[in-house]
Symmetry: C2
Subunit: 768 residues, 2 copies
């Protein structure tokens, strides 16, 4: 871990010095996105060293034929792969006939890369001495516009430093791309046509099988010392490629500049026959505004995002950089405008894992989006699942369930399951619980009950039906049991009575019954509509009730804790601290069977239940379970440290909470898992946000009231965050010994601070 080459800075991610060994890692870390598209920080100019090229369009995927060694019934036929899209960022640069290529220069000096988080752009500067002896200074800047999310812009400047030079800029579009993460090296894209007109070029392509139609496009302008010059481009085009070459004699110390605009129009937003004309419109907007105007708008748009979602930390630059890095990338990935999209585990920074939607969305991401965006954003995320309910029912049917039981997929793009390890796909069924929990969480936070009668109840009924059918009665235990599951701890497979799963199953049934009863009495029309649709009888409901009432929970009298699963105590209970460090990470050092029979926990499992349902347990119970399980937890999932940070803070163990915070917030920046080159861990970034707001800030909703118990790590002077709560914005600024609260809104708000009720008024700072 700890590659430690990113320079600590409050507002920027900065790399200095060129090292070709770091190119792929930096391509991930410096990725950019605007919710609609995103890209790894690949160089614009040709690079012949090791690189992982990636440009992605939200919602565009390919069902790649499943690859397994031994087929098992129930496996999905296809895995929805995040698709590397036709690329528009490329600008080949030729200097006196030699192609600029950082892998092939005599020297590269003063290399500096910056991802400016505050303003939302990526830049690169360097001086390169070419093999032909020409030395050039290069400065580039690029961004993906938040205001016009089909526009990307690049400003690329070359200054010959030691002689005059013939310089050619050759911006291009390329649809002859491949996927790193392809199962069978299939071709994923079909190029429909390549066209150009004046300085504009267009490539229309469609995905194989899924038939997503897209158009990528570009238009460029060139300048000498900032003055527009008209150069007649030399045009090249073939079946999957189009380029314009802008050649210019450039004097020593003169700067030759190209501004390139590009992006995608897609058939999710346009008629598929209008993609070129839509692209043409986009280019007209871009060129008429120009790079600087667009950049100015970009600064403003990001400033708006930061205004709401920034967390400041005083006295700890690395911690500050870490949290902003997390918030930045969450906003790169998902802005919540479109309920057809979701939050991919690698966002637009890589392809690994595939799919865009995991239980991560409901279990980890929704709190961030609820608190930092408009309430509609979280509702869009809920509706995404409502829209996939039919598919979840089909998915359950494939596994033998009936009567409208719904099993949401482990991984999906369109509602279909596309993951294929039986021990996860078929058995990690607790994901269904998180989807119900998100409905509860949304209502608890926003106070908006309307979603449940309108849509949520159908989801809750499908999920309750699943749990009812999935639990079986053990005559031996005289209880309902849930056999053969994988809990949140994926280091145990096919276990019986995973406590977390049993607990959330029981809760789901009870929550569904409770809402059925509310809607029956208060929302009669909805009740009739829903009951006509789902055909739910009293008899079936009382069967649900029996399952919930008689659910079995493994418990150890000796340790006075719930057992993670039936067989946990049979394991050799050697704590992580007694494990030789040469054995870690166990997922790299140990064979799978050894991991499975070990007591080591990948991420919060029983403690995840204590996190979701903390009101059901006393602090003493939490402490006992934390002290029992945490010592066996290896935190080899990106989703582990955040929950532990929150729990440690709740127990007042601030040193431990801070440790976990650093680990979650700088997971990618410091490359704890030695894999950042594959892409970033987007969904756990929302967990980082929770670590501060819910962990250190102690934010909770108690009977509809916002509550805080602020604490501060000793390493920090102060920290602050804002939350959007039911239409008003509360700013919390915690310092050593006291905390300031401020309200941006219209009317007084009661909050609870350290268990005492306080009323805060608009624009009236109070300190407690």
């Amino acid at each position: 871990m700890n590659q430690d080459y990113i320079i600590p800075n409050e507002w920027s991610i900065i790399e200095e010095g060129f090292d070709n060994e770091r190119v792929k890692s930096s391509e991930s870390l410096f990725s950019i996105g605007n919710g609609a598209m995103g890209q790894r920080a690949n160089f614009e100019e040709h690079y012949s060293g090791d690189t992982f090229q990636g440009s992605y369009i939200a919602g565009v995927y390919y069902p790649d034929k499943t690859r397994v060694g031994w087929w098992k019934n129930g496996y999905p036929e296809y895995f929805a792969k995040v698709l590397n899209a036709p690329s528009w960022i490329g600008i080949n640069v030729s200097i006196n006939g030699e192609q600029l290529d950082l892998f092939n220069c005599k020297s590269v000096d003063n290399f500096r890369r910056e991802l400016n988080m505050k303003e939302g752009w990526l830049s690169r500067t360097f001086e390169a001495l070419l093999q032909n002896g020409v030395k050039v200074s290069v400065e580039t800047k690029r961004f993906l516009s938040l205001d016009h999310d089909e526009i990307g812009a690049i400003n690329y400047n070359v200054t010959p430093l030691n002689s005059d030079a013939d310089i050619i800029f050759q911006p291009y579009l390329d649809s002859g791309i491949t996927n790193e993460d392809s199962n069978w090296d299939d071709k994923f894209w079909d190029t429909i046509n390549v066209s150009h007109e004046n300085n504009k070029a267009f490539i229309q392509a469609k995905t194989m099988k899924t038939d997503f139609y897209i158009c990528t496009f570009m238009e460029s302008k060139v300048f000498i010392n900032g003055k527009s010059v008209l150069v007649e481009p030399n045009i090249k085009a073939d079946a999957t490629y189009a380029s314009f070459s802008y050649k210019q004699q450039v004097k020593q110390n003169e700067t030759y500049t190209i501004n390139k605009f590009g992006g995608y129009t897609v058939d999710r937003n346009h008629n598929k026959n209008d993609l070129i004309s839509a692209a043409n419109n986009v280019l007209n907007i871009a060129t008429s505004k120009g790079f600087d105007t667009l950049l100015e708008a970009q600064n403003k748009a990001w400033s708006k995002i930061w205004d709401m979602s920034d967390i400041t930390i005083e006295g700890d630059v690395k911690a500050q950089q870490g949290i902003r890095f997390n918030i930045l990338h969450l906003n790169h990935t998902y802005l919540g405008k479109d309920s057809r999209l979701n939050i991919g585990p690698k966002g637009f920074t890589g392809e690994k894992y595939g799919g865009s939607t995991y239980w991560d969305t409901e279990a980890y991401c929704i709190p961030f989006y609820m608190a930092t965006k408009d309430q509609q954003v979280a509702r869009n995320l809920l509706e995404y699942r409502y829209n996939h309910l039919g598919r979840a029912i089909e998915n359950a049917e494939k596994l033998g369930f009936t009567n409208g039981a719904a099993l949401y997929p482990m991984v999906t793009m369109n509602g279909e399951e596309c993951h294929n390890e039986w021990e996860i796909t078929f058995e990690e069924i607790h994901r269904n619980g998180a989807i119900a929990y998100a409905i509860f969480n949304y209502h608890r936070y926003t106070g908006d009950y309307s979603y449940i009668p309108e849509k949520g109840l159908e989801v809750l009924i499908g999920i309750a039906r699943f749990w009812h059918q999935r639990a079986t009665f053990s005559t031996d235990k005289n209880k309902y049991v849930i056999l053969g599951v994988t809990g949140p701890n994926e280091y145990e497979n096919n276990v019986n009575n995973n406590w977390y799963t049993n607990y959330i199953a029981q809760w789901c049934i009870n929550y569904a019954l409770e809402n059925i009863s509310i809607i029956k009495s208060d929302y009669g029309t909805d009740y009739t509509r829903i009951m006509n649709k789902v055909r739910l009888s009293e008899a079936e409901m009382s069967q649900w009730e029996a399952v919930a009432d008689q659910m079995y929970f493994p418990y150890s009298e000796k340790h006075n804790v719930y057992l993670q699963q039936d067989g946990f105590l049979d394991k050799e209970l050697i704590t992580v601290s007694d494990l030789d460090t040469s054995q870690r990470p166990i997922n790299q050092k140990w064979s799978w069977d050894r991991i499975l029979r070990s007591p080591y926990i990948k991420q919060a499992d029983t403690l995840q239940g204590f996190y979701f349902f903390e009101d059901h347990f006393s602090n003493e119970e939490l402490e006992r379970h934390f002290d029992f399980y945490e010592p066996y937890t290896v935190h080899e999932s990106s989703l582990s440290p955040c929950v532990h940070s929150i729990q440690a803070a709740k127990l007042g163990r601030m040193d431990q909470a801070y440790e976990f915070y650093l680990r979650t917030s700088r997971l990618d920046l410091d490359d704890y898992n030695k894999e950042v080159e594959e892409g970033l861990h987007i969904t756990s970034m929302a967990g980082t946000w929770m670590s501060i707001v819910e962990g250190f800030g102690g934010m909770r909703i108690k009977n509809g009231t916002l509550s805080f118990t602020p604490q501060i790590p000793k390493q920090w002077e102060a920290y602050s965050f804002k939350v959007n709560f039911r239409g008003q914005i509360i700013k919390v600024n915690a310092c050593k010994g006291h905390t300031h609260f401020e309200l941006e809104g219209e009317h007084d708000l009661d909050i609870i601070v350290n268990d005492k009720k306080v009323t805060i008024s608009p624009n009236n700072l109070i300190t407690l």
Copy 2:
């Protein structure tokens, strides 16, 4: 099941009438082999319909890169695939310029295929009306010589029935073949050269990666009405192919015949540079003897095999055909001459599963080979594992074991593990037990202890070390437990304390300790040699002892049975008879998770332990366990019915025993599993033999004495079998109400019949 097109016949497998839908099934059923090579019953002439071409050479394999969806630590890099070898059987036949092709005739009449089990040959006759109007009668016969196991011979006759005809026989060799069962469509063979000389042709080829060198070859002679004719062949050869065309004008009702000899010379038996000259010698032998002389020798060789291994059944043709079919194919697959070879699960009849060696060899096949072959054959099978001990230790090291612990592979060709499902590869560790058990079984049967001090003890020590390390102490149970295994019932994965596994683990340790002690006192030199090699301390042995002494066995007081695994009683215990038949076979109808949490058992698991260690349990215990587990057993493994047949017979339940017998003996003939086209279930065929000899005949070894408790199914009049016991041959002929015993040997032998000691004398039939 029950395709039911094979005509019942005591000595032959017969198919009448041509049906292209049955071609692949028949290619499996009519396969032939001679231990050194084997082939599916592909037609000699071209066939354009659906066919699965397969020709295999013992011991020649390819390490095919492993294919998985998600890589897990510990997976082997390669899977040893049974390799489709260059083909020598092909004879294209052209009649008046039209290629003879049964898929493309106007009509095919009187089609008859026969696998003559008594004499060891395969024949085919038919009349075909070609598209060009010529009607021909065709008769073919072929065999793979037992006496010269590098020789195969084909006699192919064509008689034009309605006109004269120009007929061309084009025998060929072809190394441009592929594997059905390839992971990545890699090329497996490299052709080194193609050569010909007079009427002989040779193709030398080597396998990629494994560098097995082979030469395939052919030589042909043609005849008119049985009289040799000299035809100057037209020769064609390219990089992977050689053919000779023998053209002849044939009069109506004259018979044009080709005798083709072919086969393989391989570098396991020759210097790789001498393969062509060796092939030349083989062809000289074949042609000088000629087809008829070779066939006569074949009859004699098979008559010798049958003389020793035949089982006769009177009054039940299907049962008779079934058992002979099983014995035939076992002899096709493995004759025991070479300790580098083993018994592949599909023999030479297909490619599925890969590898040549499973625990099937030790658990199911060794009894057959011990009783029907010379004792050296079983010893060769034991030595095969001794020779792989180093690899078994490496395999265990890959999973984290140390200090010489040995884990034999689940599937192998050369001792390396090549199977890759974690729940089987890493967890189906009971296979180690069968390998130790085979040593015990060999000694028990043959009385030959010498193998254990010479070689076996090292294997037993490696295996005991594995169990010692694999068991862990549960402080909760205050016993040693074995967590995370898959037992013989592969319909439960990653379970704790599989009774069979725990039991055989305990037995292995005790058996190793017992033998160490014997060898220490009686074989001092071996003891010193072995201890110097394995460095086994008293301290380590007492740790083993502790594990064996304190092994945990799950037990139900309520049901008074050992539990198959810790969680068995939590399942919904609905018997198979209460399961809707539409749900079966569950491995085709249910998703994997549903199978896993069901109580349904694929093959004997607890009952497998009762089979191996029957002296450890009373008949009442057996009955209780049989009655508890059999009702949940779906017998979806080919290895299940035989053990149940033996156990049912032991309990005097002859109707049930007979049912299971039919199922095991006609598994492939009646295609119970609807997959016979992929190849036959060779290893379970040895279980069929056990069903009669150990089941109905009740044969056991009790304190070194052969014991029988003959029973007879009511459907039969009589049955007989022979066993080779310590150098003498005992023939048992069981009739209704009495049994005859005969001894071929030199000296009197005490046997036990129905618990009474009887002395039998050479050549003196006694009836009891």
